[in-house]
């Protein structure tokens, strides 16, 4: 190892600092510095003095040198990585938000459609029930009318209502009377048609005949000999007003 005295006297520390030494010489100085604390202190003082001298003679460079440097340096890897990840994350969030909004709108419209269809279905259900009811009624009536044991009787009007016409379907087996009052002329609001059975000279109430109905089911009276229609005050009467008899038919 070179003597510290030699190094100092030959001015090798200065030359080392100024980068004037060959690689081998520089390495020798470096290893001497690494092992010799006193030499290292000499070098540190020399460095400090040179640096101080440089600062005392500094010349500030124009600002555009720094901006040129900033422009020349490659995009920082360390910083660009997280920001690019942030951008990716942000775009994912954006896509997620957009698709969520889209899905929500879709869901809302599907929900509306479903509500509408449910309403429709309820309406259809109601109509179906109504039709079923109507069908049952109609079928029931048809069954009654078409039954072989049902006997139709036509009640034509007398001189009071010459154009009136009602049809009574009587089934003795089932003890059923159904009347079609459609052919009876309409009455004022304070009057109604009423039907009676004649049983051994006594008129027995069978029920009212509203003219707005297709078929009216009336009370079946045993041993009735004839069917009679009278015009009575609205709401019906306990006893027939014989003067107002408009039609009668014999069952026997």
């Amino acid at each position: 190892m070179m003597e510290m005295k030699d190094i100092l006297e030959q001015g090798l520390l200065e030359k080392y600092l100024l980068d004037e030494l060959s690689t081998e010489e520089a390495q020798r100085i470096e290893s001497a510095l690494a092992t010799n604390q006193e030499l290292r202190t000499h070098f540190q003082l020399l460095e400090a003095d040179f640096e101080k001298m440089a600062f005392e003679n500094a010349i500030p460079p124009p600002a555009h040198v720094k901006s040129a440097l900033v422009n020349r340096l490659p995009a920082s890897e360390v910083r660009s990585m997280p920001s690019s990840w942030l951008w990716i994350a942000a775009s994912f969030v954006g896509v997620f938000l957009l698709s969520s909004l889209f899905m929500y709108t879709k869901w809302q419209s599907a929900q509306n459609e479903l509500d509408f269809l449910e309403q429709q279905s309820t309406v259809l259900q109601d109509r179906l029930e109504l039709l079923e009811e109507n069908y049952k009624l109609t079928n029931n009536r048809l069954q009654i009318i078409n039954n072989p044991s049902t006997i139709p009787f036509v009640l034509t009007g007398n001189e009071k209502t010459p154009n009136s016409r009602a049809v009574a379907y009587v089934n003795h087996e089932n003890r059923l009377v159904v009347v079609n009052p459609k052919g009876l002329p309409p009455l004022p609001a304070d009057q109604t048609y009423q039907m009676w059975s004649d049983v051994e000279g006594e008129m027995i109430n069978m029920g009212l005949l509203p003219t707005d109905k297709d078929l009216v089911t009336l009370k079946y009276i045993d041993h009735a000999e004839s069917l009679n229609i009278t015009i009575e005050p609205a709401g019906g009467n306990d006893h027939p007003t014989v003067e107002q008899l408009i039609s009668a038919v014999t069952l026997l």
């Binding site: 200065e14 460095e47 003095d49 440089a54 010349i59 460079p61 040198v65 720094k66």
Partner: protein
């Protein structure tokens, strides 16, 4: 934290490729380094390019810097000096074939600073001490080139340098004493 420790922290950030850390060092050292580069090459435009080049090299070669071997400034100074001398060698060959003296003329006219005038402690030295130190430190001469420039034997030149450094050290030491003394008075 001392300015030396500060540098170590900043440099580890540069090793981590943080550009902001490089700009911190630029703000701190660009003036000192530009003073060296400009005094060696004597051309404002070229010096600006070379300063930029120096910091690009610092950025790219920061892993080659070992704080155990010396200060960051010493390392950066060597880069600045060598970058400038290499550029001058290149342009010298160009000048020989093309336009003689372009470099030297341009240098003195474009800069507003008197490059031959030095400031601070070195200014107080004897002219021959001043010149010897200036040649090797601010002008990029080797000891051998400098002693020829001054027209003195190498041995004499070396002793000029040693004396100059000795005087410089004393000057800075007395500055420190003055600061210490002022500090004591204030406290």
């Amino acid at each position: 934290m001392s300015h030396y420790q500060e540098d170590v922290a900043v440099i580890s950030r540069i090793k981590n490729k943080e550009k902001d850390a490089l700009y911190l060092l630029y703000d701190k050292y660009s003036g000192a380094l530009f003073g060296i580069i400009l005094r060696i090459c004597r051309n404002q435009t070229l010096a600006e390019d070379l300063l930029q080049e120096t910091f690009i090299k610092i950025w790219e070669n920061i892993h080659g810097y070992d704080s155990a071997k010396g200060r960051f400034y010493t390392w950066a100074y060597r880069i600045a000096k060598n970058t400038t001398l290499n550029a001058l060698r290149k342009s010298d060959t160009l000048i020989q074939t093309e336009d003689l003296g372009v470099l030297k003329d341009k240098g003195t006219t474009t800069t507003e600073v008197d490059l031959n005038r030095l400031n601070g402690a070195i200014k107080k030295l004897e002219p021959h001490h001043q010149e010897a130190l200036s040649l090797v430190y601010f002008r990029g001469y080797t000891h051998r080139e400098a002693n020829e420039e001054m027209g003195v034997p190498l041995g004499t030149f070396k002793s000029y340098i040693r004396q100059a450094l000795q005087l410089l050290r004393e000057s800075y030491k007395s500055d420190l004493l003055l600061i210490w003394w002022l500090f004591e008075i204030v406290v």
